[in-house]
Symmetry: C3
């Protein structure tokens, strides 16, 4: 476990799970076997741009998804990682999603990682963040924000 990506995506389909699948395709992690994770970035993990595992591999992923089947609603998902300046310490991943706009999602997720660092007594850290927003259409709509680690 020394690599990670931070990603997001959205999708719309006739069924809930297909909307999620399309959001994962949009995120670049649909063809892996996601194992849901909560929510630590191991020390000395390096950010990369894409998953370099064979398709179908297990991929440990912290994510938040939001599904909405009413049209015309703004929905958002965000994920952030607080990475201690002391790189020997693990980071904390927080994820959030809901029927709010991108600015709200960004505010919430920053507040969440700050609280998580405060709870651990860590004051010096960097933050990485990714987020997505969409206006829902007819059918099921899904936004997802994710951190995958391998």
């Amino acid at each position: 476990m020394d690599k990670y990506i931070i990603t997001q995506g959205s999708g719309t389909s006739k069924y809930d799970l297909n909307a999620f699948d399309k959001a994962l395709l949009d995120s670049g992690i649909a063809d892996y076997n996601l194992v849901k994770l909560s929510s630590i970035l191991p020390a000395n993990c390096q950010k990369v741009n894409a998953v370099d595992l064979p398709k179908g591999s297990f991929l440990h992923t912290a994510f938040s998804k939001y599904v909405e089947n009413r049209p015309g609603i703004t929905i958002s998902a965000a994920v952030a990682i607080a990475i201690p300046k002391d790189r020997s310490l693990p980071g904390v991943i927080m994820e959030a999603s809901g029927d709010y706009d991108l600015e709200t999602a960004n505010e919430i997720i920053l507040s969440m990682v700050r609280i998580a660092m405060e709870a651990r007594g860590i004051t010096e850290y960097d933050i990485e963040k990714d987020s997505i927003s969409m206006k829902t259409k007819d059918g099921f709509n899904c936004v997802v924000a994710a951190v995958s680690i391998w």
Copy 2:
């Protein structure tokens, strides 16, 4: 990860989690440590009839369960795998459950795997499917449909 089973089961008990446990016993996968998976069948994976791991092992499983505590209701769960004719490509697993009958569950799950293949631009594939339906009794009732991969 070169073997999988496709299975289903049902159970009724005083508590939600015990109904799920009985449905897993009925499915033949209760004595493993299920790690929830979403939802890719690795390329060149072979179907077998039973799990041949020691009891208590971790077993990566894509599943859908539905729990209902009102009596006299029809509930169903279904799972399907679309396996590309080009066996070097991964397959896609879809799962669904709800308070509908078996025929509806089968229609939904077939539609879901077709949409997932369409989303990947794959037109040639086989489908495997399993599903279960029950009429609920007093207590908590659970139906589960699952694909386990190891």
Copy 3:
């Protein structure tokens, strides 16, 4: 997989996921990457007092959490393991949580593991149990009870 801990904790915060994070800090398992597990204790697994893996490691964990954002409510979480006297058989972990008191949580969880043993035809077994209760404050409140296996 030959070690386990049984633990519990509580936390309160501005956000749902931070309340869960604080409950995990209180439980001593927050700095691991929890992979949710259901719910078997492998044969010949030994109980220890703390996780001895590097921080950030994957930690397979069966848990139940309850989150409540109304103040002044009693919420509880409990976990129990039924361990067959025949130590070559796997044990069964059950977890429960809700807006009930500690005594109720303890009664429910004992009843659940007994039903799980009965469903397997096992009559001779020991039970281990841990539980927690809190009166909720302003904000999001979380109780968690967990068994981690590694």
